[in-house]
């Protein structure tokens, strides 16, 4: 992605080094956590609940202390700094707007406690409100605003004192889908306008993909993969990521032989050729992942290395494509998406067709565990 490349040479803004966190001294909520966030980058921490993403954010904000390791902001360890001295703007999941203050007072709060003059405060508040397009709402109280408007105020308040690092903890979780998409766009626009570094926590993979320069996928307190969204989608390195990001057909098998980066894998009765991603040896258990959109139905014979018979279980019309569930390679829920074009090939439920895909669209990952069984 262009953005990511632009930042590639820039300096490191935030650095997690060997961070571990345990609340009770036994279970590690976060461990072996190493992550660098570039200056001006929009980085998302993505993972299911309990994956430690919010804990990481809270440690960065200073509300939790790491059990092990160090966090550095702009090269400086922030271990001894209380939250108020870190100069980080933070947007909370529940917005945390102060209900007894007007919008303007909420925005003025961080400026007041810094001892800023009235005029200066007024100017900054007005600018922040313009940034989130809420001019004219100064005198309202949070309770008189819609969810989306409250969200904008919360963002404005986190930005008004001009921090260069902003943390957002599932800020769009409480909004409906339409508003969420609008706010995703807004937050991206603000990020581009201000050039601040944003660390964003979400469990919504689509949200992370849409907004971020890079996404760190977390699972059980560890980082599975850090990569730009396209790479996560196209080149997942771990079966968890493949499962979590977008839709994937996953086939469990055993490695037969490896030739350069092409692997032959036995899946049930069939042998599938796939591209090698995770290091493995012949005989290892493995998981193959194939995007439904990369599967061809009734291809020209001989076009693909991997070609199998498949019985069509059902066909769902999804507008721009057809979603076809087939029995193939020992699975009953193998999914293929075919574009909805004139003459897409009249397939009917119950038909036996050929399906096929290239080895490069099929990735050999770690064995993972079969959550989707």
């Amino acid at each position: 992605m262009a953005n990511a490349e632009r930042h590639a040479s820039d300096d490191i803004h935030v650095e997690f080094e060997n961070i571990g966190k345990s609340y009770d001294g036994r279970v590690m909520a976060v461990q072996d956590f190493n992550l660098s966030v570039r200056r001006g980058e929009f980085l998302s921490l993505l993972g299911p609940s309990g994956s430690g993403k919010t804990t990481c954010l809270m440690m960065l904000a200073g509300f939790e202390a790491p059990t092990t390791g160090a966090i550095r902001i702009a090269g400086r360890s922030v271990h001894a700094l209380p939250p108020r001295k870190r100069g980080i703007g933070m947007v909370f999941q529940d917005y945390a707007l102060f209900p007894h203050m007007t919008v303007a007072d909420n925005l003025a709060f961080p400026l007041d406690v810094r001892g800023m003059s009235r005029d200066e405060t007024r100017g900054l508040v007005r600018r922040a409100l313009r940034l989130v397009r809420l001019e004219g709402f100064e005198g309202r109280r949070p309770g008189q605003l819609s969810g989306g408007q409250q969200q904008r105020v919360a963002i404005a308040r986190a930005l008004v004192f001009e921090p260069d690092l902003v943390l957002m903890d599932e800020p769009l979780g409480a909004l409906d889908r339409h508003l969420r998409e609008e706010m995703q766009y807004e937050i991206r626009r603000i990020h581009r306008t201000l050039g601040v570094t944003i660390v964003y926590v979400t469990h919504d993979q689509q949200e992370a993909m849409v907004m971020s320069d890079r996404v760190a996928v977390l699972r059980d307190g560890r980082i599975e993969q850090v990569a730009p969204p396209e790479s996560l989608y196209e080149e997942p390195e771990r079966s968890f990521v493949a499962r979590f990001i977008g839709e994937n057909n996953r086939l469990h098998g055993r490695v037969l032989s490896i030739e350069k980066d092409i692997c032959r894998v036995r899946v049930g009765e069939d042998i599938v050729q796939a591209i090698l991603v995770a290091p493995c040896e012949p005989g290892d258990a493995t998981t193959l992942s194939i995007r439904p959109a990369r599967i061809a139905v009734s291809p020209r014979p001989g076009l693909y290395t991997n070609e199998f018979d498949a019985r069509i279980r059902d066909i769902t019309f999804v507008g721009d494509h057809l979603r076809i569930r087939v029995e193939a390679c020992g699975r009953e829920d193998f999914v293929a998406k075919i574009p909805n074009m004139v003459g897409h090939g009249a397939v009917l439920e119950g038909d036996v067709v050929r399906i096929g895909w290239t080895p490069t669209d099929c990735r050999v990952l770690d064995a993972g565990e079969d959550h989707d069984a």
Partner: protein, 405 residues
């Protein structure tokens, strides 16, 4: 359309009536056990027909009296006749008691006169009555009789605020040594304020701790607040006697620790200190519960947000937390204050002579002096004070968060 609307509203009315019908037993209960006694008590403070009914002619004649000189012969004759009837009907004691409250010492004058009048023969008038007791020749006696004979009277309310009406009708303050109730009201207000403040100072951190503890620990702490709440008031008050008395636990500990000499043990009970300590303890839950109920709705994230925005803990508290907790502070303080103003049993048990409050005086007049009119007037004044506070309380709690700041 209009017909339809009428039908629907008729059905609604029926439903409403049915709902109201369900509340009838409660309305009846409240009416019989609360409203009726309250009204009859309040009536008593301004309406006292005993003397007026027993001595109708005398009182009627005294109405036309100039009040400067001893009344005419006709008044004496009427008084003698009606006192005699009262003696025979055995109501003389009640009458004498009421006149005695207006002016001390007249009880025996009336009772003895009535008894002696029975023995007298022939026409009785001024001479014979003055013979029986020279007090009948004094203008003040007749003033007292006239005052006691007022069917509708403000004298109880005047007495309750240490005022008295002179024979010429002007209202003046009682002599300094007879002013009892105003100082007592002031003391009651001060104690109530003090107890409220103490409850707030002690209860605020406690409520905060409970509201922001993990659920299990919060529940346990809340139970610890509630257990004394469920314990009998009498038990709690008497346990303070055990703790605070001269040979009690606290004094023993202080002596053992060498802070206090054995012959100079602190007087911690049967005085104002005892009233303060016991009342604060008894009323603390009434502060903690409203505070807790407001505080646990304040999200934890607000303090985090304030910190992340650069506020020091003090700034975060005073500018973010405290204003949001104000409805609880208002509700708790008013509740404690209202309860403290009318507090009776605790000061009665641990207050000694210097720790008594206005309600102890109400009880005294109800039970000992039997001056129910004055007791009612004192109660009426407390009721008005509490009602005003209740309206405030309602505003504070009903007005919602935004209304307060």
């Amino acid at each position: 359309m209009p017909a339809k609307i009428t039908m629907r509203s008729a059905a609604e009315n029926r439903a409403r009536l049915r709902a109201a019908g369900l509340a009838l037993p409660l309305v009846a209960f409240v009416g019989v056990t609360f409203v009726a006694p309250l009204v009859s008590m309040l009536v008593r403070s301004v309406y006292d027909p005993v003397v007026a009914d027993a001595l109708p002619e005398t009182i009627a004649l005294l109405d036309d009296w100039d009040g400067m000189n001893v009344p005419e012969e006709a008044v004496f004759e009427a008084a003698a006749r009606e006192l005699l009837v009262a003696q025979e009907e055995r109501t003389i004691g009640q009458i004498a008691g009421r006149v005695n409250r207006v002016q001390g010492g007249l009880r025996s004058v009336l009772v003895v006169s009535a008894r002696r009048l029975r023995d007298a023969s022939g026409s009785v008038g001024r001479d014979s009555m003055v013979d029986i007791n020279p007090a009948w020749e004094e203008v003040e006696t007749w003033h007292a009789l006239r005052t006691a004979g007022e069917r509708y009277t403000t004298r109880h309310y005047l007495a309750a605020v240490d005022l008295t009406r002179l024979p010429d009708g002007s209202v003046v303050r009682q002599a300094p040594d007879r002013r009892i109730y105003v100082p007592l009201f002031v003391r009651t207000l001060m104690v109530s304020l003090g107890v409220t403040l103490l409850c707030l100072i002690l209860g605020y951190p406690l409520a905060h701790l409970i509201a922001h503890s993990p659920p299990r620990r919060g529940g346990l702490l809340l139970a610890l607040v509630l257990v004394p709440f469920w314990t009998s008031l009498l038990v709690r008050t008497t346990s303070w006697i055990v703790l605070l008395q001269n040979q009690g636990v606290v004094n023993d500990l202080l002596v053992a620790a060498g802070f206090v000499a054995d012959d100079a043990r602190l007087a911690l009970i049967y005085n104002m200190t005892g009233t303060f300590v016991a009342m604060t303890h008894v009323l603390l839950p009434f502060m903690v519960l409203p505070l807790y109920s407001v505080m646990h709705t304040i999200p934890r994230s607000h303090m985090s947000a304030a910190a992340s925005l650069g506020a020091r803990p003090g700034q975060a508290f005073w500018r973010v937390y405290w204003p949001q907790s104000l409805p609880g502070v208002g509700a708790g303080s008013l509740l404690v204050f209202i309860l403290a103003i009318g507090y009776y049993i605790t000061p009665a048990l641990v207050g000694g002579s210097t720790g008594q409050l206005i309600s102890n005086m109400v009880a005294y007049h109800m039970q000992t002096s039997l001056n129910w009119g004055l007791a009612s007037a004192l109660g009426g004044i407390i009721l008005v004070c509490v009602s005003i506070l209740y309206i405030l309380y309602d505003r504070v709690t009903g007005g919602g968060r935004l209304g307060v700041t």
